[in-house]
Each structure stands twice: as C-alpha cells, then as structure tokens.
C-alpha cells in the first residue's frame, strides 16, 4: 500500500471498510501487560484452534489487541459485533464460548461480569460499571484494532487528521488549534503543548527535532506502554502533525527498554507508515518530509526528564542540565527540539479531527481533555482508566475502581509517581486536574494513582520513594545527591525506631533545600512524598518516634509476632514454613514463637489458617 495523496487515503479507507463485514464475529483478546502476565496468549491460541476445529476459520476473526484497561479481570475477550464482555478466561472456557456465543448466539453467563451493586450479570463492555463512567477517547480504540495492522487503524479513521493538516492547514493554523484546545503535557509538568510547539517553531535553526518521550518511568504507571503497544499509529500520527506544525523533518521515539512489546509495535508501525508513504519524503504528496528513529532507554528514571533524555539520545549518560537554556531553542544536538510524551502525542489527532472547541469543552477551566490513570494498589478494580479532567478522586476510586478490597479503610491515594504526594481521605472529593493536585501538595505526573489502605504505613511509603529517588538521582547536583541520601537515612531511622522528634524539622528543612536548589525536576519535586505525608499523616511519624510503634504494622523493626495459644491448633504449618526455625511445639499442642530468633518475614502470619499469629 502506498498512499500518495489525501484523496487516495480516503479511497483506501473506503476500500478497507467495504472489505470488512461489520456483522462478522470478531473475538478481540486483550494482549495488554496485565493479561499477558495472565497467559492470555494461550487463550488466544485456544480460540484460534477451536475455531479451526469447528471449521469456522473464514467466518470468525480473532484479534490480539492492546490493553482494554480492566486488568483485574484478565484475561479478557470482547466478542464483536455485540461487544459481549467475557472475563477471567482460561483455555478450558473457549470451546463453550465458540459453541454457545458464536454458533448459538447465546451468552455464557458464568464468564460475564457481575455488577455486585445491581446484583446482576452484565453482557456488554459498556454496561460494566468500571467502563460505564469513563470517557475512553484514547484507550477506547485499543480493543477495536490489531496494533500490527495499519489497515485497522485507517479503518477507524486513522491518519485522517494528518490528511486534514497536510490537505490545507498552514503550520501556524495547526499550532493555533493545539493552543486553543488547551491541552497540557501528559508526562508530568503539564506545560501547555501549543505554547511549546510555538516556541520551537519560532526558534532559529534549519534543523529541528520532535521527540516522543516513551521512557515511562513512574512506578505504578503503564498508560504510555499501553498506548504504544495498543495503538502505535496514533502516536506516529500525532508526531507527524507536530513535526509539520513545528517545521521539523526528523524525530525520535525514546522507548523504555523494559517494554519489549511497545518497542516491537512502534518499530513495526514506523515501517508500515514508511511503506505507505505516511513517513518519509513528500508525505501524502504535500512536499513535507519527515522520518523517525527509535532509541531504547537504558533503564534510568532520570531520563524521563527532557534534558537527560536528550543527553541519552546523544549517547551520553542521562544527566540533566539547567533549564535556563530552553529545549525549544537548544535541545538535542543543540538544535531546537520539541519533546512531548506518548499520551500527549496520541491526543493530537483527536484535537485536529474534532476541533479545539470540542476538545476544550471537555475537562476543567485549566485542564482540558481526558487523562488516563493507572488505578493500582489496594483497589478492587485495578487497571487503566480514562476520565475527563475534573472527575473527583472519589468517583475514580470508588465508582470506577470499586473501592478497597476486603472491607479495609481507604487511607490515601498517591498520585504523580515519585514526584507526587499522598492525598488523604479528607480530600477525597478533590476534582482531579493539574492545578488542584498541585495545590494539595501532589501533582498529575504521568497519571499513576496508587491507592493505599489502613495497612499501608505512610512513613514507609515516604521512605520507599526517597530510596527510589536516591538510587535514581544522577548525582550531578549536590542537593539532590546528598539531600536524598540524608533524608533516606533519617527516614530509615524513624522506621527502625531510632527517630527523634527534631528529625521531623530536619527533613522539613532538607525538603525545602531540595525543592529550591536542585538542578532538575527530579530533585525539585523529590520532597513531595515526604512533605505531603508529614502534612497529612504527621501522627504516624510521631507514633514511630514517640511510641516506637508502626500503626499499620509494616515497619518490621517496630512489630513483633507471637502465637496466641488459645487459637493455635498445633497444626505445625508455621513451624514447617518458618525460615528461621523460630517456632517450636509438639503436634496438636499450641506452638511458641521465639521473638529472639524471629526475622519478621511474616510467613507464619500469612500461612496460619486459625488466626493464631499476632502482629503488634
């Protein structure tokens, strides 16, 4: 397929659509990271084999797609055209689905989702409460296409935004459209995308670069991965449009090396786009040239920072530089560069196709459009959710996320990755947008949303993030390198019972130094997890310091295990499993735990079926 003009693209689209029978059953098996880990490919193969065994190969399509979002229920399959939602699949379920749903047109009720609140089974994806309240402008296409097929992307309207741009928009019109849409960067800082494009466009220089930051490093966030894996052409289309607007002929995609499937899919998409004439010279006959290269990240969190990422693209260690020289003036190889993250790029075709007015009607005053969040941690419906900006934390966590497992109490939600903060229950009705999250001491970041319950220790969480950042600090500037080290030591002292009350003032002081004196965003925002937990959960810090207690029962130095003789049946399971030989006792007699030998691994607590192991 070679597309040489805008008209030809439309002709090809019509041809693809004419060749597709909309009523032909198609089984879309989710191949997202969560489902892959749940052996969804075996499920997919079972579908293919069963369909062949029934002689239906020509009558039913099977498609392996990107992430559908509802990881908790994986492996998932959607049966088109009815959009029947089957979940928790295993290979044993497949013959029944083919027999009942494909051949007899009936649902297999035991594989449907149960809406607990309504107390009934739901048939289609749209009726599942998890999906019902989302606005899946970006993620929704994942289940509709095979990410390896450019034809599938074209069939759902792909590259029509590029055609619109190259078919009659001036570069400055495109920049204005993006500016008017109000979209802000989805990678962390939330800088207005249109303004960034404008600066790079206006910068002096013949050679300019556009870069896609796909070095998704925030632990607990996997939306960029899911977009690149599930719909790579949408990112390419956004980048080609951006390059045209900015006046760039060369671009880079910097992908985290830990995401092999994302790498494979984006490389394949680039190859297909080149073959189709959508990348390369004279795109769609417009005279505009643009091509892309993919670089793999080296596994350094700091490379999510734009100047560190560019250093890495140049083959140097990923050390950031001061930002008074703007990337838009001097970025990669000292040339004007424009860097946006995956989700931002994927939003561009939507804005061009539907217009800035349509886009800016979604969201809040200062934050437009939708945002993808990865809803993880102590939450019932783990997965990727996409909602309009301004939805409250309560709606996301309780209505979409289904609340906290095992009837535990909600304690906090952590947003913004290691640069963000912990938001307490008292702020659960906060509308989620860039500015509101910053106001309460957290940030949007790339959209990680880690839910914490009563069993999560907030001091331990602060220590976790500080240790994470300490290891990931590039070491170039002293406040970050030394400050994080000292903060980590103080927090470790507190979690191990050696804390002093004056330490709380010291980490507050250190936090301010890091915030004010660090070179890049990593160090400047590093204190957020500490400052937010100190602000909202000071009582937990004090309990560790004054009472030598960890209220959540997490910090091992401050808890002790013992066996309740009343409940112990002497089954011997804990004795057998204890790696430290700290438990003794005769069969059918209450056992005894020697606290001196105990290494506090918690295995006895986990294995005991009689609630006889105490943790205090």
């Amino acid at each position: 397929m070679k597309v040489t003009s805008v008209n030809e693209l439309e002709a090809i689209r019509s041809e693809i659509l004419a060749g597709k029978d909309q009523d032909k059953p198609c089984i879309a098996v989710c191949g997202g990271p969560g489902c892959l880990a749940n052996q969804c490919l075996e499920v997919r193969d079972a579908f293919v084999n069963e369909i062949a065994a029934k002689g239906l190969t020509d009558k039913v399509d099977v498609r392996t797609t990107g992430c559908h979002g509802f990881c908790e229920c994986g492996p998932i399959a959607l049966i088109y055209p009815q959009e029947i939602f089957y979940q928790g699949l295993s290979i044993d379920d497949i013959p029944e689905i083919i027999e009942e749903t494909i051949i007899n047109n009936k649902t297999v009720d035991r594989l449907l989702y149960t809406d607990d609140e309504a107390g009934q089974l739901v048939e289609t994806e749209g009726e599942v409460p998890f999906y019902k309240q989302q606005m899946r402008l970006i993620l929704g296409n994942n289940s509709k296409i095979d990410p390896h097929s450019i034809e599938d992307y074209i069939a759902i309207g792909g590259y029509s935004a590029l055609a619109k741009v190259l078919g009659g928009m001036q570069p400055m019109d495109v920049v204005d459209e993006i500016k008017n849409s109000g979209i802000r960067g989805r990678g962390g800082g939330g800088f207005p995308t249109g303004r960034k494009w404008e600066s790079t466009r206006n910068a002096e220089g013949d050679i300019k670069y556009v870069i896609c930051n796909a070095d998704e490093g925030d632990p607990g966030a996997f939306m960029d991965r899911s977009i690149l894996e599930g719909n790579p052409h949408s990112v390419l289309e956004g980048m080609i449009i951006g390059a045209y607007a900015i006046g760039s002929n060369e671009g880079y995609v910097y992908v985290r090396n830990e995401y092999p499937l994302a790498l494979k899919n984006i490389n394949l998409a680039i190859k297909q786009a080149r073959e189709a004439g959508l990348l390369g010279d004279n795109i769609l006959g417009s005279g505009f040239n643009f091509d892309l290269k993919v670089n793999r990240g080296g596994g350094a969190f700091v490379c999510g920072e734009s100047t560190a990422l560019m250093a890495s693209l140049e083959g140097k260690p990923g050390e950031p530089r001061a930002k008074y020289i703007h990337t838009s003036d001097k970025g990669l190889w000292d040339r004007p560069s424009n860097l946006n993250n995956v989700e931002t790029w994927a939003n561009i075709p939507l804005i061009i196709n539907n217009g800035a007015d349509w886009y800016s009607a979604i969201g809040t005053e200062s934050s437009k459009g939708t945002k993808v969040f990865s809803l993880v941690g102590k939450i019932n419906n783990t997965g990727l959710v996409e909602v309009p900006m301004g939805m409250t934390l309560r709606e996301i966590i309780f209505d979409i996320g289904g609340g906290i497992p095992d009837n535990k109490a909600f304690k906090a939600v952590q947003t913004g990755g290691p640069s963000g903060g912990c938001i307490p229950e008292s702020l659960i009705d906060l509308p989620v947008d860039y500015d509101r999250l910053t106001e309460v001491g957290s940030m949007m970041g790339s959209g990680g949303m880690i839910v914490m319950d009563e069993d999560t220790c907030m001091v331990d969480v602060a220590r976790y993030f500080i240790n994470f950042l300490m290891e990931e600090s590039c070491g170039k500037c002293v406040p970050c390198r030394e400050g994080l080290l000292r903060m980590g030591e103080i927090l470790t002292d507190i979690t191990e019972g050696r804390g002093r009350m004056e330490d709380l003032d010291l980490i507050q002081d250190l936090s301010e130094v890091l915030r004010d004196a660090s070179l890049c965003g990593l160090g400047q925002t590093a204190p957020n997890p500490v400052m937010s937990t100190l602000k909202y959960f000071r009582n937990e810090y004090e309990a560790h310091i004054k009472d030598h207690k960890c209220p959540a029962g997490v910090c091992t130095e401050l808890i002790t295990y013992s066996i309740d003789a009343g409940n112990c049946t002497g089954c011997g399971l804990c004795l057998k499993k204890c790696p430290a030989e700290a438990i003794t006792g005769e069969t059918k007699q209450p056992h005894v735990l020697d606290a001196g030998k105990c290494i506090k691994c918690g295995i006895c607590y986990d294995v005991c079926k009689f609630d006889a192991v105490r943790k205090e």
Binding site: E72, P219, E258, A300, G315, M452, C601
Partner: protein
C-alpha cells in the same frame, strides 16, 4: 578476548559507528553476551573514536548494563509502588534468603541472578516476579519456594 571482534564489528557497523548510537550499541552487545565484557567497551571506544571514559560512563550509568556476567536464570522482582504496597519487599527478602545472595548478585554456581526492577507495568498482579521473561503475579514469600523448585 571473550568478545569476538567480528561480532562487535557487525553490531557497530549496523549503527554506522555513530557516537550517538553508543547506548544502542552497548544494548546489542549486552544482549549478545548477557553482560558487557570489559574488552568490548575498549573496542567500542576505539571504533567510535570516543574517549573510554564516555563508554565506561554510559556503561555504568544505566541500569540496563552489567559489567559482570549474569546467571543463566534471571529473576526480577518488581519494586514498583503498586507491588511495594502489596508486599514486594517481603518477597524479595525471601528470595534473598533462599538463594543466599543479595539483589543485584549472581549465585556462585552462575545459575541465578536476582535483580529488582522499578516497574514492569503489570501492577494489577502485584507483587510481580519475572523469571526469564515469564510473569508470576500475586507473589508471596510462601510461593517463592515453589517458584524456585519449578526451575
């Protein structure tokens, strides 16, 4: 030397010996040998005509690179936030006890390398342990023994 010069040449030539492709070149060498043999770094510096310090700087800066040979079996414990709040630390500690090595090390027989990873993006299944690219979800210290015994 351990690293074969013609093999290295073919990797380097694929990137036209461009200094900007240093990281990609090292990634391919690492994929070939499972680590970066020291002499390969010197050879790359020579071929790319860049100072050895730049090659060693990059090789030691990024977590993807190892200057020590890795074990035949690679066990990665996800330490992402979602896995952390669900108890990944205890899983790691149990692996360290069972394998008698610390995270980042390889068993003396060269069988296992135990490493931590910041997030593998399979948060719904946390805590996650990835062994030889196979994901094991909802891990607990108790499940560690059967994971190792299945090897």
């Amino acid at each position: 030397m351990t690293a074969n010069e013609s093999k290295l040449d073919s990797i380097i030539d694929e990137y036209n010996a461009e200094p900007g492709s240093l990281i990609s070149i090292l990634q391919d060498i690492q994929a070939e040998y499972n680590y970066l043999p020291e002499e390969s770094l010197e050879y790359v510096a020579k071929r790319l005509d860049i100072p050895r310090v730049q090659v060693f700087g990059v090789a030691t800066f990024f977590k993807a690179f190892s200057l020590k040979p890795k074990g035949r079996q690679q066990i990665h414990v996800c330490m992402g936030t979602a896995c952390h709040v669900r108890g990944s630390k205890k899983v790691l500690e149990e692996l360290e006890r069972k394998l008698e090595i610390k995270a980042g090390d390889t068993t003396p027989d060269g069988e296992f390398t135990l490493e931590t990873v910041n997030c593998v993006g399979a948060c719904a299944l946390g805590p996650v342990v990835v062994e030889n690219e196979e994901y094991h979800g909802e891990m607990t210290p108790i499940k560690v023994e059967s994971l190792l015994n299945s090897k």
